[in-house]
């Protein structure tokens, strides 16, 4: 037992005897073992391809439109369902190509990139980029958000008042739902959406509070 004790002892005389014995052979063997491992694995690894996060999240954004009902006055008079991206765009062309030419309930889907929440009045679905995390509170509190489905992959998005939050679980993208946030935005979520969600919470966001 050494803790608390070393001030009693005088210093070890010389350590050079044990130090000078070269340990190179074992080092070289160790490293070559490691490189063999890395090389081998990279070869067998090169054989499988998976979709990217952007592809799966884009597919979700497209699919959500089928499971959410907007208030009738919102739908009336518009022939398109707008998916808006607020902040830095993580999708690039993937989202556009996912929804290109697609329709949901007779409404064409379009993608629009916006830089301020004030521009979101015509959006049906609003994806909030993680670049906006520091401003999330203000964004979610904005009156412009009534009747908009908010979606994001910002951590704890639904706890912070968002409606649908993406979460990564064992390299799979799942989503969480805050029913109270949906209700506040006057949106009706289908039971199928709620069933598939990895977690459903019901936490209202009061005005002015995060």
């Amino acid at each position: 037992m050494n803790t608390g004790g070393p001030w009693l002892h005088s210093e070890r005389k010389s350590a050079t005897d044990s130090m000078s014995r070269a340990r190179w052979p074992s080092l070289i063997v160790g490293f070559s073992w490691l490189f063999l491992l890395l090389w081998f694995v990279s070869i067998c690894a090169a054989q499988r391809t998976h979709p990217t996060e952007s592809q799966v999240e884009s597919a979700y954004l497209y699919n959500f439109g089928k499971f959410v009902k907007w208030p009738p006055d919102r739908v009336a008079g518009t022939d398109s369902l707008q998916i808006c991206l607020l902040g830095q765009d993580p999708f690039g062309v993937v989202l556009d190509s996912t929804v290109a030419g697609e329709k949901i309930a007779g409404r064409a889907i379009s993608v629009r990139r916006i830089s301020a929440i004030a521009d979101s009045s015509s959006c049906s679905i609003l994806f909030i980029s993680s670049s906006e995390e520091t401003r999330l509170h203000a964004i979610l509190a904005s009156a412009e958000l009534s009747e908009v489905l908010t979606v994001s992959n910002i951590p704890r998005f639904v706890e912070r008042g968002g409606t649908i939050g993406f979460v990564m679980q064992q390299d799979r993208i799942r989503f969480e739902v805050n029913r109270a946030a949906a209700a506040q935005a006057h949106l009706t979520l289908s039971s199928e959406l709620l069933k598939v969600a990895s977690r459903v919470i019901n936490k209202p966001m009061r005005n002015g509070e995060p």
């Binding site: 037992m1 803790t3 001030w7 009693l8 979709p51």
Partner: protein
Amino acid sequence: MKTLWRRLLPTFKSFPTFQAWVIVVVVGTGLFAASPATASTDQLQARLETNNNPVRDLTLEQLGDVQVTTVTKEPEEVWDTSAAIYVITQEDIQRSGATSIADVLRLAPGVEVGRIDSDSWAVGIRGSESNFSKAVLVLIDGRSVYTPLFAGVYWDVQDVLLEDIDRVEVIRGPGATVWGPNAADGVINIITKKASETQGVMVSVLGGNVDHMIAEAQYGGSRGKNFNYRVYGKGFLRGPEFHTDHHNFDDWNQARGGFRADWNINSRNDLTLEGDMYGGDFPHETGPSAFVDSVSGGDMLGRWERTMENGSNMYLQAYFDRTIRIGPLSGETRNTIDIDFLHHLKFGDRQDVSYGGGLRWSPNRYIPKTPVLDVLPETNTDHIYSGFLQDEIHFADDRFTLTLGAKLQHNNFSGFDVQPTVRGLWKLNPHQSLWAAVTRAVTTPSRIEEGIQINAGEISAAPPIFLVVSGNPHFQSETSLGYEGGYRQLLTHTFYVDFSVFHNGYDNLQSFGAPTLIGNNLTIFYENAIAGTTNGIEIAPNWNPRPWWKLSGSYSYVGIDLHANEPGSDISSTGSVNTYEGSSPAHQLKIQSRFDILKRFQFDQTYWYESALPAQGISAYQTMDLRLGWNPTKEWNVSLVGQNLFQPHHFEWGTGDPTELPIGIRRAAYVKLTWIAER
């Protein structure tokens, strides 16, 4: 146990054969992993070629089952931190197979961990490795666990259920402004999961040749949506490490229990209450260097967090901690009461101002058990009062952040100390950031440095002269001035690299003065007569070549160049230039590789190399841990872990006593069964 072990794995006896054995396993696993993909993957493959987005037409349920190529993501806070921060996640811990907090810390770059024997560790950051783990602040859920007796950490009693750790944030370099005292070389911040994240029942049992038994049980429940709690119990029996003289004194056992409750009062206020109690025994700690044979203690912490409009927030925290250590040579009892307060507010659009303070009282008693050793005064009340102010100013659309801060603290040993810091962060783009900092930090003196009395005995009979080593009531704070910088970049969507460099100037480091004859006592005093610099770099890449394969690692270098300001300071295992310089590895290499195989299996490897510690009489070593994990069902997990596999035993730290050989850290293996029923 030993015979069974040998019979099961006969090839373990010789290293080269063992390597061949490992390669067979690895190659086998690789082939296994590369075997034909399942039908659904084939379909995906086909769609990848025909459609821009192959998963577009999947149902919501199917989407949730698609394995994706993950971008290497450091937690968001890492990008915004102008310090060398590294985050060890729960997954890192679980897949390392480590069974103690000190061993978990090996995963972080630039952190030096040497296991001294079965129950003690020497931990340091950037060249401060010592068996006192000095100058590193260790917090568990905001509770500081360093003892003012020797300004270090009793690693043997710092424990939690490792499954409950959410993350360990390791900050290399001085982190003194916001964090508490003693953070001159780094901060280790252990954060446990919220009670809402540990709902349900967890039971785990581990058995092996060195860790004989570790048993854990936990229950997490709730009252309504907003009140969650958990209670846990844990006990272990750990066996001795390797002793050349077969005097296996370092087996030990410990039991602990505790709880955590989180109450989300409303969307603005959160209350957390947590507590632990423990007791442990070191049944065979005997002989001249045995300082402890029983430990017990407990703690209770309450924290109130309040979030206000426009992102302002505050917290108020108070805790009580009791530590009792009794051994054949000495004893210590200590009660610590601590209150901390922090308020963070937005000042216009551009400024984040934080201020706060802390009060800590620590009445304690040193219990002498032998005339040879005492710490005076035997009863004392240590205190630290501190206050800090910090302003974070954001420029150019948040792309530049300048942080100015200072901490003023007062302690009973050395009076007032000022610790200022200036930090800058430049986010070139979302995937690239650059930072630099200059910080002054102090390590406050400890009771030992101020008041130890070692009566080393008579060195001359006529006239009678006695050798005495004595603490120094005028001992000052050790100071450091650190310059550091770093660069982070997400190079491709699967490759992340973190690079940092530092230069620290030290002054007033503890030394021993020249022997002075006072009456019949030839006295050696603790002094502050060592100064010098440390320089180093750390590179920590992180690569996810495949969704099922993750590679992370680090290389770190530290060069220590110290000099005594006064002659004659070279007599003990601490406090000499040689000891400081030769007790931290100059080079460290750590590589962790993890495979997910067919959803239910995990195969993980951890390799590390540490260069020699001349002052400890320790040669360079490299070794490896392997872990095979299997989830037969959602509830069950079986882990088979081999540790320190490259040699039957290796040495990590000296004893500081020429009459005692270092203790070898043994090759180990264990099986762990975990059953989790989430609610």
